[in-house]
Symmetry: C2
Subunit: 453 residues, 2 copies
């Protein structure tokens, strides 16, 4: 009998071609004008699950659909694995910085370049094809499987949690597996140790009722752009610490995790080169990995006010807008941090303007439970695919559903990611390594065996 | 013989219709894509001058053309008046805030609404038609006239000064007349007492080589948007004073002008309502009119960084840009202020980003010479048109060529403007009062007589 791993090796080219098809669909959940593409991507995912041999369906929610694939043939005594991914992608702007168009996938230098290549279509697809490999060779899976692919991860998964709560018995699982994170370095298989939570806000400063001539009126009203800058300047002290009152009160110092982080191989020069920044920076007293995984942050994600086109325009803007988000860590709470930020902004509004703070997205932080059988199985599966034992590494980003899965389903979550540093997720020229696509397929197939043993 | 004033009254409707034609041409000098419209507006102006009876030509420069109209029949002993205006207009954004489209002029409630209605096509046109009225009725003008209509006023008049220098003998004049300013209130004829100069800069903060994921990288590099905000926050102290070292060193306190300003009728509540701001603000220790005319300012004209579309996007921007301009007063110097600003920015750059400051536009401040015969003639002409003596009022804006005319041609400049407060120059729904269009025509016609007496 052919093994699932032989099947993967023999069908690798076809798997790649199928992935490129999926990547051609601009399923940008943040933009209402892409709603029909979002829908198409869901249907594509559902067909792909059915082709793999799962019982597939597209389930409606109050927002974008959830795609479900099920296989329950391992019996009631076998464990059930819930595999989660998302078919929606980030907006692709700025378009002019892409080497090839974001939704015309191109293979260059051993990489697939496209929006969603690695976040998360490319990674999610590994599990679909690993399941296909098992079912086409052995006619069965070693475990019961539920695949759940959602369409709102990039906008906060607002409708997923209600869906999970409403379908808790159908989604009941002994383990949750997610491939939406990064390896710490090429050829270093990595299991996710932590995620930061997210509090994403929009701050709007309103001054004059309409844009004014900056000569005819300049100097007599508070300029909203200046006011916004003055507010933003209060967010950090000169040591890079967030200066919002109470911001760090709940932070777990987690000395054990700090020791684990210190033991990891990390090349700061390579990391700096990836960013292309003139220098690294951040909160005084912490290393780069600690700043990423152990410490909360406050970042400006966007700014806009007045005239931003070519040449001079002498306008005094009527409004200024900032997108500002915090990454939070255990035991910070997203709602509490949102309120602290809102109170801070209102305390620092200069006279002569009005300010509103709107929370666009929130998600809680998470730490992995290393002491579960799931983590032992994952370590063996990764060692089979990569020829070496995995390391445990944090992730600075957020996957809002991870802490929610543990809470609602009571099952541990495993983050087994195959992105690489510098993959440009959320930026132009996002890519996935073809070598990791290959190894990821084998790891995903092996994981089903290791959990089923 | 019919008088020029009768002719104006009888042709008012036609004059309006002709102005609307000119306003339909989107001659936006700040935008290269409108170059052919800018050219069309110049040719339109030249035809209009020829129709009025002037010897008209379109003169090339290194940038947009200068339109010249000449009539030299008053003899060598008669004075020569140079009338200056501009056919270029500001960009019209934000388009969605216009009640009617900016380049489809509409008459509503006794006003012409269009980009350029009052800045400066509508005002410039008054002089062309006043000349036509004289020539069609009396066959001659009481003075020699040169009309100069340029196409780069809204982008700093960069090519005008070289043109004026190169054509100094042809443009030689005893008086320069410009209608590009505002009356202090409806039915209060106003002569311009001062203009502020302008230093317009673009500040660019560069951090990472490309946009980064704000989770995967957040907290480890200096955020350029945060850095820009921190720089902008240093521009003013808490009393609204500009905190750039040396900024006020050269400012002439001009107590005589301050006394004149105190004597003017000024309704602060009306002014506040015009701005639509929650409250007036500005430099402590000065009144609103002093802040506008006597004191220099620093304003943010535009801000942009990162993601500014709908919804959340978790990006750490690679670049942040601000447009920042200063209005300056006697005896400040534009180049000196640009250098002080540049030095201030570089002193306040946070570590981890790179900053550049580019000067886009500069122009010197100006004060009127009340003690010249030109000002007495203007006072009489305005009294004839409005039935009351004019007041002298400053203007917070800048007309870069005014101080340059005085320097190169050695002739005093008169600012006789017919805009009204709230005209929305440089903003959506720019308008010109039809009543002022009518009275402005009579004032312009009378001015030629009064200078020629």
């Amino acid at each position: 009998m052919q093994s699932p791993h032989d099947y993967i090796d023999q069908n690798l080219e076809r798997f790649r071609a199928e992935l490129l098809d999926w990547l051609r669909i601009p399923s940008i959940s943040a933009r209402p004008e892409y709603a029909s593409d979002v829908r198409r991507a869901a249907e594509w995912a559902s067909r792909s699950l059915a082709d793999a041999g799962l019982n597939a369906s597209v389930e409606e929610t109050a927002g974008n659909s959830v795609v479900i694939g099920e296989w329950r043939g391992a019996g009631e005594s076998a464990p059930t694995v819930l595999i989660y991914g998302h078919y929606d992608v980030q907006p692709a702007e700025p378009l002019e910085l892409w080497t090839s168009p974001p939704f015309e996938p191109q293979i260059r230098d051993g990489r697939v370049y496209a929006r969603g290549a690695v976040d998360d279509k490319g990674q999610c697809f590994l599990h679909v094809k690993a399941i296909e490999a098992h079912l086409r060779t052995r006619g069965r899976l070693p475990v019961n499987v539920v695949v759940l692919i959602e369409g709102e991860e990039e906008v906060g998964s607002g409708n997923l949690l209600p869906f999970v709560r409403d379908n808790a018995s159908r989604l009941r699982a002994d383990a949750v597996v997610i491939s939406d994170t990064s390896m710490i370095a090429p050829n270093v298989p990595t299991i996710g140790a932590s995620l930061r939570g997210l509090v994403y806000t929009e701050i709007i400063v309103d001054g004059p009722a309409h844009d004014l001539h900056s000569g005819t009126y300049g100097g007599t009203v508070m300029n909203p752009a200046t006011a916004l800058a003055r507010i933003i300047a209060t967010f950090h002290d000169d040591d890079g610490r967030v200066a919002v009152d109470g911001f760090y009160d709940a932070v777990d110092p987690d000395e054990e995790y700090r020791r684990l982080i210190r033991g990891l191989p990390f090349d700061e020069a390579t990391y700096l080169a990836e960013t292309g920044a003139p220098a690294l920076a951040g909160e005084a007293g912490y290393s780069t990995l600690e700043r990423l995984w152990l410490r909360p942050t406050l970042e400006v994600n966007g700014l806009v006010s007045g005239y931003t086109g070519e040449g001079p325009k002498t306008v005094l803007p009527s409004r200024a807008l900032a997108k500002v988000s915090c990454r939070i860590v255990p035991n910070q709470d997203a709602d509490t941090i949102a309120e602290l930020l809102r109170a801070h902004v209102h305390r620092h509004v200069p006279p002569g303007v009005e300010v509103s703070v709107r929370v666009l997205q929130g998600g809680q932080p998470w730490r992995a439970r290393f002491d579960t059988p799931l983590y032992a199985a994952a370590a063996r599966a990764l060692e089979r695919a990569f020829g070496k034992a995995p390391v445990y590494a944090g992730e600075g980003g957020s996957i809002p559903i991870v802490p929610a899965f543990e809470e609602v389903l009571g099952a541990p979550v495993l983050l087994m990611g195959f992105a690489l540093p510098g993959s440009n997720t959320h930026a132009p020229d996002e890519w996935m390594s073809l070598d990791n696509f290959d190894r990821g397929l084998h790891a995903a197939a092996a994981l089903l065996d290791e959990i089923g043993h």
